[in-house]
Symmetry: D2
Subunit: 376 residues, 4 copies
């Protein structure tokens, strides 16, 4: 694995490294961690890398690594930069024969996302998008239950992703994480929409297996001087007639990372929240509420497959993130061995395009006073 971005002090770069490492299947071998070669080398050395494989630019990394013997060179590039720096390295890596793992949202613009999809398709390389929450064991269980029809027909969905860290004007301090997220040049047209809204959208479509067809979005820009949304309230309609809401916020004061979803069907219902990820609450017509836990009683194989430790030993954010990397690594190993996997279970470029359509539809709807707007 070669990393683009994620120098010392980066939040998400460190998360990717830890997550990639947990299952012992992936090794960081090189990186273009920073915009200057000196900083990149400093970061790489702190990570125990060979100085020669700490590059000043992603172009250099891709070029130099390509020249290394196959046994040595990186297998794939992982991109952990702000949104505006996803497309260029992703495209170049794919065109040079490297697989790609990329943080979300997939690109700065919808056009870029669609262009990237063409590049991926043409390249025949793997592309994973780190919608990490779909790696949670209980999310797999929820999806499996719905896929098998245990909830019946889905009628209602409620999802929220609420944070409070931008309640104050954090971007006016030295806080780097805040600065780029409120800047359209680096974030794109969505603020909270891109940063967290796409997780909610992806989680809904992943768990239910249903597409959101249209949304009505009322976005807020509560922070002084903000041009991008830091809050959003949305109505959604699903392809099967189900209805629901998505509420997102980065000004929901005191909320830490409250991503949650409820799905109601004609036979049963599920509820999950990532702050308490080791619990899936299910409700039924005639039976009492049942609570599933990782590696606990009654799980489907799809959920058991991603449990690492015995029941009652909580897995967290990093482990779910690691599951995306693990699924990707298994796929990569499989194709290296000349075999194929029918349905690899990690988010791909298709999810990336869906996410961008969601952002664009929400922004468009908001401009039209929350008029219904299609995701297409």
């Amino acid at each position: 694995m070669g990393m683009v971005g994620g120098g010392i002090g980066s939040f998400i770069g460190d998360v990717h490294r830890k997550a990639a490492g947990i299952d012992g299947m992936i090794e960081l071998v090189c990186g273009a961690f920073s915009s200057t070669v000196e900083k990149s080398i400093a970061s790489g050395k702190a990570l125990g890398l060979d100085e020669n494989r700490c590059y000043g630019t992603f172009e250099e990394m891709i070029q130099k690594e390509k020249e290394l013997p196959e046994a040595i060179r990186m297998d794939f590039v992982t991109i952990v930069t702000p949104n505006h720096m996803h497309f260029p390295p992703a495209k170049l890596a794919l065109e040079n024969g490297f697989h790609v793992v990329c943080d979300k949202p997939v690109t700065l613009t919808l056009d870029e996302a669609e262009a990237l999809k063409k590049v991926v398709d043409k390249s025949g390389k793997l592309f994973a998008l780190t919608h990490n929450y779909t790696g949670n064991c209980m999310v797999k269980q929820a999806k499996a239950m719905i896929t098998k029809g245990e909830l019946g027909t889905i009628r209602k969905i409620q999802a929220q992703y609420l944070q409070g860290w931008l309640s104050t004007s954090l971007e006016k301090t030295e806080q780097k994480q805040a600065a780029w997220r409120v800047d359209p040049k680096r974030s794109g047209i969505g603020g909270a929409l891109g940063d967290i809204g796409t997780h909610a959208e992806n989680l809904i479509e992943y768990i239910t297996g249903l597409k959101i067809t249209e949304i009505a979005a009322d976005l807020g820009r509560f922070g002084e001087g903000r041009v991008l949304d830091d809050d959003g309230n949305m109505l959604i309609r699903m392809e099967n007639g189900a209805k629901g809401t998505i509420s997102i916020s980065q000004i929901a004061l005191g909320e830490e990372n409250n991503l949650g979803i409820k799905v109601y069907g004609t036979k049963g219902s599920v509820e999950w929240n990532q702050e308490n990820p080791n619990e899936l609450i299910t409700r039924w017509l005639k039976e009492p509420k049942k609570i599933y836990t990782p590696n606990g009683n009654g799980l489907h194989d799809e959920a058991l497959a991603v449990c690492r430790i015995p029941a009652g030993h909580p897995e967290g954010y990093l482990e779910a993130f690691a599951t995306i990397y693990k699924s990707f690594a298994i796929h990569l190993t499989t194709i290296k061995e000349g075999r194929t996997i029918e349905k690899p279970d990690y988010p791909t470029i298709k999810d990336g395009v869906r996410g961008m359509k969601f952002i664009y539809a929400a922004v468009e709807s908001d401009k039209n006073n929350a008029a219904w707007t299609k995701l297409s």
Copy 2:
């Protein structure tokens, strides 16, 4: 207290009787419990009433009671019939000098509500509307915190009222509760909207002290053959610029009585749910989450005033309901003694009119594909 409706087997009639009785300030002395005098007498006798004061119609009850000596006759009429039978007895009672307690929504139509307001105003009599959840101790604490500015400026509101009991076609069975609630002649133009939506609306306006100015509503009619809404997803905008969502449902399978609210301000936030009513979760900029409990540490006087038992001794649905009756009874006693109360703390005809406006705006918005619609 004389009761209209609420014969044997009634759910809400029994709740009103228990709630009115808990604090020992109110006594049931007569009733027109049923549509026939025989049934009314049967119900009344089972309740230990004098047969002579079990009436066949509310008209008869009001007439006969009026003729009794003041010391003996009922002080007020409590109305626990389906919605279409609220206006006639309320009007007649007020016009004959009786105070009124009425279940919600206040009337069948908005016109009736506005007409009733005029009757109340003209009569000078008391009128209480049983939005019972506002009687909860923790709701009082939340309201007090917001009133005193402790949360700063309110920015975001999320409320839901989710039930699952109409997930199946219960109205096609013998279930009386279901039958009238899905029938426009008895319920009015709102289904879930009137039955539970008004509670959510009232709770929002009560806690925040802010008016909802407009809503965008996407209603569902999921039950086969239903003409009234059994589900609804709504965006809301508040008079101060805050935004939010309301989600209501009676087809959210497995949900029992999940009424909850979150309010986010610039200094703090509160979260409350009626299924776990003895807990108010608060969040803060710099401090850890704090959990308040009835009669527990740190409560404002407004909350302490309605606690009945020591901390850790849970109060429930009936006690909150009883608080509405208690506040009403205190007001009644006060004016009997020739004194006045500046701000009686129970819902009134004004809340009733607001509720009807909410129903009408939601239905109108839904007809216009969830276009923003004003509550006015």
Copy 3:
């Protein structure tokens, strides 16, 4: 119902009155509320009683009421005084043909309890002890599941009753509740043991249907100058070989009223806590955790029988307390009608004797450095 004790400002007297009133089956008609006739009359009048039936002593009350016509006089005496004033009025009432409801622990001493049992047996009158927590719907469900063998053989029990209100020397302030509870003359040989420990003991024996055979108790007297226990840690052994712990405290700072129990069998387990009383957590060998709720799915008839309101509408402390009164009132009505009830479901004098044996065994064990001591 005639009340002994419970004058204005009393905590438990008010609880008894509210609880007795909730189901509309019991009416307070007289009382000896206080040690002077003036105070008793003041309390009685505030409660709306006829002045003639507000007595200065319980002896007077029993005498005078006995002289009233049967249709008018009280049916039973309810005793809500401190422990040392349970036995005298209970004995006198029974011997004069009145049924009795009495607060716990049943008497000041074990001798008194055993003497009272003889009086009850001889009198043929009803005697109810208000171990109110056994009135909870979820407690009934737990008991029913165990009785029907659904948990298999019981192996392990954990119970606790933790409060923090005596963390400071509250008895040295004006707090009346604290003063008598730390005074052996009024409380007996147990402090926390009598006040809350007996609730834990009773809950264990009620739910499991098993007797505690012996205990090893290490009591604490943490409050400065206290001669009675304000804390206790105990090992218990059950008649069937099950083992467990009971932990009680009134100096567990910050705990409000944390009474909870866990029972583990060979097939399943149950967990309940009175601070969150509307939830019974059950665990199983092969199935996921299941959560039962009052009037929710899957309840046994024994639990359904005591639910008052629909699922999701929380019942609390007063409602559980009321269930004891309701069961007593039903029994009383039944025998008045010349019929009998095979197994009346409320705590009786037998539970009272068990509770006193528990206190005595615990104190004895503690004196012997927590040596095993039998309850017999």
Copy 4:
């Protein structure tokens, strides 16, 4: 790091490897994973190790690694075998100049533990014992609060470690984990006591900074034919006069991994449970309950120091385990650089000896019908 034990299919070996890897400070370089060299090589190769460094015995590993250049050879040995195989490799490693990380309980017998302590002291090498739960962020916060006196004087402690996985006779199936744990030859004189009881004991002493002076233990052997305890109920007394209980079980049916602790002081109280590890509940004399979270508001530096990711991103079992390895790695790096750390924050051989004393005192007490027995 060189590993002893932990071949393919091992539970705890895999946990150690993942935990050691999360922070990128430790690399597995060799191992004696299994009792035969073939199996050891198979395991090592699956882990990506050089075949030459997969050894058949720990003796061989220690010998061969010692001969390697310092830059290449393992820095320390990590021991993940059943209890009877802790002492021999630990002793040999230390005597040959290697640091040691060892799973708990530290040895098979108390004599071995005391002997090992002498070896450690003499060697001057580091020795870490993986009482992993003390690595939790919220445990650090609780300890820091107590150390700083924020809870006042500790009066009461309740700890439990409840599992249900040995409810049935799992050891009679092919389940390897169960087989050695019920076998005195491999487990020592404690069953559940050693496996989980020592975690509870260590957590109590770590958080409170107080020693347990004596215990009264009533052990259970509920599983058919078991000679070692699978359940235990204990009273404890602390060096400062505090009292409490410890309840442990592996037959608490349905419990997954319920390790929890409550500590009550004269100023405040704390409550923590490892199944919900990202929450520290605190209670106070005058203030409402406060809930702390990792990287959330109000944490002490000691807790912040071990947080990896932003608030609201749950950390789990592996991360807490990793914190032990990280602290050890930091200590190791520090002394390699010729510096020292005053108080390294990971469990050491002293904790190991305490744990063995706890097991021995509990077994002794149980033999004497739960008589008080000193830990000394």
